[in-house]
C-alpha cells in the first residue's frame, strides 16, 4: 500500500479475512502462534472428553435401554472410590497444564521489553485516537513491522476495549487510568481493530484500521501524515479527517446515523432541540465540534463528545471547507 498515508480511509479491512483456520483468523503478531497453540491444546483435550462423554452416554442409552416397564436392572456398584479419585485427578492434572500454558503466554503479553515505541491510545465515544512519539495524532493505528510497540490506553468517557483479532490481543481503555498492551514481530498488512467493551449507540461502529508498514514506509507515512496540509488542499484534508473522525456517526451521503448527515448541511437551516433554528455557517460548525452539547439538533441525543484539544484550528477549518464542498455537491 503506497497510495499514501490517508488513502482509503472509508473501507475497513476485513476482521477475519480468508486464511487462518476454521476457528481462528490469520495471525499477524509474534505471540499469536503460541496463543493459537494453547487454544488448540485445550481444543483437542475438550474434543477428546466431549466425544468420550457422548459416546458413553449414547452407548449406555442403547445398551441398557428399558425393555419393559417392570424391569429391574442387575444393579452395580454404588461407588468406587479408586475410580472416582482417578477421574478427579486426571482432569486436575490437565487443567494445571492448561493453566500453566495460559500463564506462560500471558506473561509474554504483559511484560514489554525496554525500548518499545510508545503510542498513546485515547478512546472515546465512538472513535480511537493514536498519538505517535513525534506528537502526531491519528484515528488509525500505524505500526512499523520491525519494532516493538507499546500501546498506552486510556479513555475520555466510558470504558472501551481495544481489540485486534489478528493480534489475538485486547485491552480495556479505562477512564482515569492507563492500561498497557504491547506488540511484537508484526506482519505487514492491514487489520481491523474493534471496540470490545460495550459503550453505547455507536459501539459496533467503533472500528478502525491497523496498518503495519515496512519500517522505511512507516517513517515516510509518519512524516507525511504529520503535515497533511503540505500536499493537500483544505477540503481534501477535511475529507480525510471527516472519514476518520466523524464518519462513524455522521454520513456524507444523506443517510441518518447516530448524528445528522453532513450532506447538504453547510449554509442550510438546522432545527435544534429547543425549537429554534440556526444556519449552519462556519461559527455554528466550529461550535458544534468544540461544544457539541450547546446546540443539539432536533431528533438526536446529546451524545457527541467534544473534540476540544483534539482537532487543531487548521483542521477544523479544513473540515468546514469539506462540508462546504459537500453542500455544493448536494445543490448541484
Amino acid at each position: 500500500m503506497s497510495a499514501g498515508p490517508l488513502a482509503q480511509v472509508t473501507t475497513l479491512p476485513s476482521v477475519a479475512p480468508a486464511g487462518g483456520s476454521v476457528w481462528l483468523p490469520p495471525r499477524a503478531e509474534g505471540a499469536a502462534a503460541e496463543i493459537d497453540a494453547v487454544f488448540y491444546f485445550i481444543y483437542w483435550v475438550s474434543v477428546f472428553f466431549f466425544v468420550l462423554i457422548v459416546v458413553l452416554m449414547v452407548y449406555f442409552v442403547i445398551r441398557y435401554r428399558r425393555r419393559v416397564e417392570s424391569e429391574q436392572p442387575r444393579g452395580g456398584a454404588a461407588h468406587n472410590t479408586r475410580l472416582e479419585i482417578t477421574w478427579s485427578v486426571i482432569p486436575l492434572i490437565l487443567v494445571v497444564v492448561m493453566f500453566y500454558l495460559g500463564f506462560r503466554g500471558y506473561m509474554d503479553l504483559v511484560n514489554p521489553p525496554a525500548g518499545a515505541m510508545d503510542i498513546q491510545v485515547l478512546a472515546q465515544k465512538w472513535s480511537w485516537n493514536f498519538t505517535y512519539p513525534n506528537g502526531h495524532d491519528d484515528a488509525e493505528l500505524h505500526l512499523p513491522a520491525g519494532r516493538n510497540a507499546r500501546l498506552v490506553l486510556t479513555s475520555n468517557d466510558v470504558i472501551h476495549s481495544f481489540y485486534v483479532p489478528a493480534f489475538r490481543k485486547k485491552c480495556d481503555a479505562v477512564p482515569g487510568r492507563y492500561t498497557y498492551l504491547w506488540l511484537r514481530d508484526l506482519k505487514p498488512g492491514e487489520y481491523l481493530a474493534l471496540c470490545a467493551e460495550y459503550c453505547g449507540t455507536g459501539h459496533s461502529d467503533m472500528l478502525t484500521r491497523v496498518q503495519v508498514h515496512d519500517p522505511a514506509d512507516f517513517q515516510k507515512w509518519l512524516s507525511e501524515a504529520s503535515d497533511p496540509f503540505r500536499t493537500r488542499s483544505y477540503a481534501e484534508v477535511g475529507r480525510l479527517l471527516v472519514a476518520r473522525r466523524c464518519a462513524s456517526c455522521h454520513s456524507v451521503d444523506g443517510r441518518a446515523g447516530v448524528g445528522p448527515t453532513f450532506k447538504g448541511l453547510y449554509g442550510h437551516p438546522v432545527r435544534l432541540q429547543d425549537g429554534s433554528t440556526v444556519t449552519a455557517d462556519e461559527n455554528y460548525l466550529r461550535d458544534s465540534i468544540l461544544y457539541p452539547a450547546r446546540q443539539v439538533v432536533a431528533g438526536y441525543g446529546p451524545v457527541m463528545p467534544t473534540f476540544r484539544g483534539q482537532l487543531r484550528d487548521r483542521e477544523i477549518t479544513a473540515i468546514i471547507e469539506y462540508l462546504k464542498e459537500l453542500a455544493d455537491h448536494a445543490n448541484r
Binding site: 452416554m57 417392570s70 436392572p73 472416582e84 482432569p91 470504558i159 490481543k169
Partner: protein, 566 residues
C-alpha cells in the same frame, strides 16, 4: 447403616379423598394470595417465572431478528441496546436465579424431607412478594424505555447514559436490590429447613442430592447477595447524588465496581447451575433405575463448587487492567471449579452404566444437559487460560459459553425438573409424544443458535454489536434460525402442558418410580403433605418399587418391608 423401610405408614399412597389436595382444599383468589403453603407459593413462583421467561424470550427473539443482517434490520442501535439489556436483566434476575430454587425447590424441598412446610412459611410468602415487587420495578424500566447499559450496569456508562429517562438505571437497580432480599430470605429458609426438619432416618448422607445442591445454593445466596445489594445501592447513590465511588470523573474507580459486581455475580452463576445439577442427579438415577453412583463425591462437589465459586470472580476482569499478579491467581483458582463439575458428569455416566434406562421426556432433558453442559464446561477451559482469554474475552465465544451453561444447563434442567414434577404439582400427566417432539426442537434449535457463536467469537466477533462485519452474516442468520426453532419448541411445550391441566390423564402418586419422599404422597399432594411424618430410607434404592399397570405408576412392593436399604 441400615434402616428399616418405612412401609408401615406409607406403602400405599392412598389416593386422598377426591378433591382434597393442596389445589382444591380452599378456593378463591384470597386463599392463594395469602397462602403460606409452600406448594402454592411454589406454583405462584412458577407462574411468575414462566411469565418473565416469556418476556425475556420475546426480547431474545427481537435481538436475534435484528441480527439477521448487519446494520439496521428492524430497529435502531439504541433500541437494540435496550433489547439485549432487557433480555439479559430479565433472564438473569427474574428467571434463571430464582427458577429452580424458588419454583421447584419451594414445592419439592419440604416434601422431600417429609415435612409439612418450610421452617418459616410466612417468610416464604414475603420472599415471593419481594420477588414480585422487584420484578415490577424492573418492568417499570421497560415501560420507561431507558435501560441500555447491559445487564452488568458498568459505570461510568451506567451513570452517564445519555438515553436515561426516569433516572435511567435506578428503577431496575432498585428492583435488583429488592430481588436480592427475596433471594436471601429463600436461602435462609432452605438452610434452616434442611438443618432442622429432616425426618427420622435421614442423616446428611440420606439427603436427596437435589437438596444438597439447594443447600449449597442457599449458602451462596445468603453470603454473596448482600454484596450485590450494597453494590447496586452505591450505584444508585452515585447516579442520584454523584457520590464519587465508581465514576472516575467524580474521583471514583470503575474497576472497584467490577470487583464488587462480580464478587456476587460470579457466585451467582453457581446459584444458577448448582440446583440444575441437583435435578440431573435425581433424573439420571430415577430414569436409569439405579442407585446414584458416588453419592458422596456428588454431594461434596456441590459444596466444593459453592466454596471455590467465591474465589474466581476476577476472571471477568482479565483484560480490565487489574494487576497481572491478581489475574494469574484468579486464572489458577478458576480452574479449581472445573474439577467438581467434571466429577459430577462422570458420576452421572457411571450411574447410567448397567441401569434400566427409560427415555421419558425428563430423562431426555437430563441427557441434553450432559451434552450441552459438557460443551459449556469445556469451553470454559479456553476462557480460564489467560493467553486464550485475552483473545476470546468479550466476544461471541463468551456469549455462546454462557448460554451453553446457563440455558443449555440451567434452563434445560429446569425443563427436565418441570416435566419430572409436573404430575406431582398438577396431578396430571402431559402428552409424552408431544413432550419428545418439543424436546427435539428445543435441543436442535439451541445448538443451531449457539454453536455458530463459538466460531464467530473465536474469529473476532465482539459481543453486544448492533452492526457487524459482513463476513459474519451467514453465522448470524444460522443462529437466528435456531432461535426461531427453539421458540416453536417452547410454544409446543406451553401448549401440551396447558392442555394437560384440563385433559391430561390423572397422575398416579409415583409415575416414574422415584424413591424420594415426594413420590410417596398422592399427586397432587394433600395440603399437609403427609398424614404422619414418614421415615426416610435410601433415596436412591429402587428395589422396593414395583410397576402397577393398573395405575400406570409405581407402588411399594408389599414384601419389601424388611429389606434393609443399603
Amino acid at each position: 447403616m441400615s434402616v428399616l423401610n418405612p412401609t408401615i405408614v406409607l406403602d400405599q399412597p392412598a389416593p386422598a379423598p377426591a378433591g382434597v389436595n393442596y389445589l382444591t382444599h380452599t378456593r378463591g383468589l384470597r386463599s392463594w394470595l395469602l397462602t403460606i403453603d409452600h406448594k402454592r407459593i411454589g406454583v405462584m413462583y412458577l407462574v411468575s417465572i414462566l411469565a418473565a421467561f416469556l418476556l425475556g424470550g420475546i426480547f431474545a427473539i427481537l435481538v436475534r431478528t435484528e441480527l439477521l443482517g448487519p446494520a439496521k434490520t428492524i430497529v435502531t442501535a439504541d433500541t437494540y441496546n435496550q433489547f439485549f439489556t432487557l433480555h439479559g436483566a430479565i433472564m438473569i434476575f427474574l428467571v434463571i436465579i430464582p427458577s429452580i430454587p424458588a419454583a421447584l425447590g419451594n414445592f419439592v424441598l419440604p416434601i422431600m424431607l417429609g415435612a409439612k412446610d418450610l421452617a418459616f412459611p410466612r417468610v416464604n410468602l414475603l420472599s415471593y412478594y419481594l420477588y414480585l415487587l422487584g420484578a415490577l420495578l424492573a418492568v417499570v424500566s421497560i415501560v420507561s424505555g431507558s435501560m441500555d447499559t447491559g445487564w452488568t450496569f458498568y459505570p461510568p456508562y451506567a451513570i452517564d447514559s445519555a438515553h436515561a429517562r426516569f433516572g435511567g438505571v435506578i428503577p431496575v437497580l432498585l428492583g435488583v436490590f429488592v430481588l436480592g432480599f427475596s433471594s436471601i430470605l429463600t436461602g435462609l429458609n432452605f438452610i434452616v429447613t434442611i438443618h432442622k426438619l429432616r425426618p427420622p432416618g435421614m442423616g446428611w448422607f440420606r439427603l436427596p442430592l437435589f437438596l444438597w445442591s439447594l443447600y449449597a445454593t442457599s449458602v451462596i445466596q445468603v453470603l454473596a447477595t448482600p454484596v450485590l445489594g450494597v453494590t447496586v445501592l452505591l450505584l444508585i447513590l452515585e447516579r442520584a447524588l454523584r457520590f464519587g465511588v465508581f465514576h472516575p470523573g467524580l474521583g471514583g474507580d470503575p474497576l472497584l465496581y467490577q470487583h464488587f459486581f462480580w464478587f456476587y455475580s460470579h457466585p451467582a452463576v453457581y446459584i444458577m447451575i448448582l440446583p440444575a445439577m441437583g435435578i440431573i442427579s435425581e433424573l439420571v438415577s430415577v430414569f436409569s433405575r439405579k442407585h446414584i453412583f458416588g453419592y458422596h463425591f456428588i454431594a461434596f462437589s456441590s459444596i466444593a463448587i459453592a466454596v471455590f465459586g467465591f474465589f474466581v470472580w476476577g476472571h471477568h476482569m482479565f483484560v480490565s487492567g487489574q494487576s497481572p499478579l491478581v489475574t494469574v491467581l484468579f486464572s489458577l483458582l478458576t480452574y479449581s471449579v472445573s474439577i467438581p463439575s467434571a466429577v459430577k458428569v462422570f458420576n452421572w455416566l457411571a450411574t447410567m452404566h448397567g441401569g434400566s434406562i427409560s427415555l421419558r421426556t425428563p430423562m431426555l432433558y437430563a441427557l441434553a444437559f450432559i451434552f450441552m453442559f459438557g460443551i459449556g464446561g469445556l469451553t470454559g477451559l479456553f476462557l480460564g487460560a489467560l493467553a486464550t482469554d485475552v483473545h476470546l474475552h468479550d466476544t461471541y465465544f463468551v456469549v455462546a459459553h454462557f448460554h451453553y451453561t446457563m440455558m443449555g444447563g440451567t434452563l434445560i434442567a429446569m425443563l427436565g425438573g418441570l416435566h419430572y414434577w409436573w404430575p406431582k404439582i398438577t396431578g396430571r400427566m402431559y402428552n409424552e409424544t408431544w413432550g419428545r417432539v418439543a424436546f427435539v426442537l428445543v435441543f436442535l434449535g439451541f445448538n443451531v443458535t449457539f454453536f455458530p457463536q463459538f466460531i464467530m467469537g473465536s474469529r473476532g466477533m465482539p459481543r453486544r454489536y448492533f452492526n457487524y462485519p459482513p463476513e459474519f452474516t451467514a453465522f448470524h442468520q444460522l443462529s437466528t434460525l435456531g432461535a426461531y426453532l427453539m421458540a416453536i419448541g417452547f410454544v409446543i411445550i406451553a401448549g401440551y402442558l396447558l392442555h394437560s391441566l384440563f385433559r391430561g390423564r390423572p397422575a398416579p402418586g409415583n409415575p416414574w418410580g422415584g424413591a424420594t419422599l415426594e413420590w410417596q404422597c398422592s399427586s397432587p399432594p394433600p395440603p399437609d403433605n403427609f398424614a404422619t411424618q414418614p421415615v426416610a430410607g435410601d433415596p436412591y434404592d429402587f428395589r422396593a418399587l414395583e410397576y402397577d399397570p393398573g395405575s400406570g405408576g409405581y407402588v411399594m412392593r408389599p414384601s419389601a418391608g424388611a429389606r434393609p436399604a443399603s
